[in-house]
Symmetry: C2
Subunit: 312 residues, 2 copies
């Protein structure tokens, strides 16, 4: 193998057409990766310069693809994600098993660094600030349990196999293609139309990121050497009222948001400690990913508002 | 279906020839179960009255067997357990997947109660007293991680499937067939032979149970309605020195035990809270399994000593 060949970083992205995955290809290319994308079918608007592969991890696995591509990095987004069903679906069991098979096949094919997509639903939600090393994993849902299991068993396996394992925990995101009744699009549509909307308590607080920003954070996790669980967030949480007021200001119109009219199944504050991701903590840089969001919340919301203006 | 038929409780035991499993069949029969045993091969000394089935959960699964037997209860011991290798083996991934498939097939075949075998290695070992609901799951090994994953995902799946799920966490056990260099047999042999033995610190404390007692506790978990994780222990922990002194007294001879001569990889105290199993806590009975060990530690150690007298 020539020295030039040895230094090529090849990443295989699973779920490459998904809600987050579709935004990850360009940021990976910008970071110098040769990008291979795996999906059940190749999208019509496939990005240029990406090498597409079709396959279904649940039925065929990826062993032959991994042996053919021999990726150095694997960015694993693929999972069952059907809105309203994914929390309790038995498909979570299949995706847990498929994820562990994928990791094992990746290691066997010479891979060196695996990055997977986790969720805040892995944590015990009785706290406020969720910390990767302090907050216990005590998932309340099957989805959260299966993701926590993929993390626990995947990380432990990676140690025995001598490969790096990082696990980005996604908190609250929004972006094109999401269900219209989720919080951010519901607020955008209500404000754009000047309509009323029943909403959770005004003081409930979340760390919102666009799907594109989350995907950029995952590209950074691929690029860096940080291992273990890494919360993904901006570090700038907003209350539901702050979010709503920002959207109204950016939209230039205001609906009637009835805060507290509906129950929020989540806790009052569900906010990640993002010291590991951002590398900022009490003046002391111990974060290892050194990520900066590529867009502010206002910029990302403006994009979403523009999109929804055309999809009302 | 006749009323008599409807009240029959049929249990399928996996790993029925294993270190714990082989002791579980008689206690299940005593509790009124129709006992079906699954193993890769039927043992020569198969207990009478047990219905044996052969199969390998890793290669063929158990769907057809479950559909044929239609057990109401499943007691799942089968897992990779090769001494010295099981902590780090990639087989843990296969057994996690096989366990979740088994649980799913059991629910689909009309099963109502699943009891699985967990381990103290699922817990964060930085504490002292391990409590099912308080102590975080923070496994340090692949074996512990895979077992914790089977618990987390299995319990969450069972809730969605409407079946009961209990998970017995095994702490420190001993019994016939175990490796001679494990703590209890090593102490027994040293005392019987009057030889010297390098041992961990004298004040390290564990809750020791015989494999037969642990199996009896699992039979009780099948029999009762308790769900969730249940620590398995006697509630009477001993230090290494107390254990050694008891063995010397029962053996009637004494070896030279060099306490502190070797490092113990575990914490000083690794002892389960057994309130859930025994139903004793501060005078208030909230334990739900109401189990009593069928033998004292002294009785169990005497049996082991007698066995080792014939196997020195």
């Amino acid at each position: 193998m020539s020295p030039a060949k040895a230094s090529t970083r090849r990443v295989l992205v699973t779920g490459a057409t998904g809600f987050i995955g579709r935004h990850s290809l360009a940021p990976l290319q910008r970071r110098g990766f040769e990008v291979h994308a795996l999906a059940r079918s190749i999208p019509a608007d496939a990005a240029p310069g990406v090498l597409w592969h079709t396959g279904d991890l649940l039925t065929g696995g990826a062993r032959s693809l991994l042996e053919a591509v021999r990726p150095t990095h694997l960015l694993h987004f693929a999972w069952y994600a059907e809105h309203g069903k994914f929390w309790t679906s038995a498909h979570n069991l299949e995706w847990l098993s498929a994820t562990l098979s994928l990791l094992r096949d990746f290691a066997a094919a010479g891979g060196t660094r695996f990055v997977g997509a986790g969720t805040c639903a892995e944590y015990d939600w009785s706290g406020n600030l969720y910390d990767e090393t302090v907050t216990p994993l005590r998932p309340a849902t099957l989805y959260g349990a299966a993701k926590a299991s993929a993390f626990l068993t995947g990380e432990a396996f990676a140690k025995t196999a001598g490969i790096e394992f990082a696990w980005g925990r996604v908190f609250h995101l929004f972006g094109p293609g999401e269900a219209a009744n989720r919080l951010v699009p519901a607020l955008i549509r209500a404000h754009l139309r000047g309509e009323s909307l029943d909403c959770g308590p005004e003081n409930h607080q979340r760390d919102f990121l666009s799907a594109a920003s989350v995907a950029d954070a995952f590209a950074a996790l691929c690029d860096r050497e940080i291992t273990g669980a890494v919360n993904i967030g901006s570090g700038k949480p907003r209350t539901f009222r702050e979010l709503s007021d920002t959207i109204a200001r950016l939209a230039g119109s205001r609906g009637d948001i009835r805060f507290g009219a509906i129950r929020d199944p989540g806790p009052e504050t569900l906010v990640p400690n993002v010291d590991r991701l951002l590398g900022e903590t009490r003046g002391e840089a111990h974060g290892e990913a050194r990520w900066t969001p590529p867009a502010s919340l206002e910029e990302s919301l403006s994009e979403s508002i523009a999109w929804w203006r055309n999809h009302l």
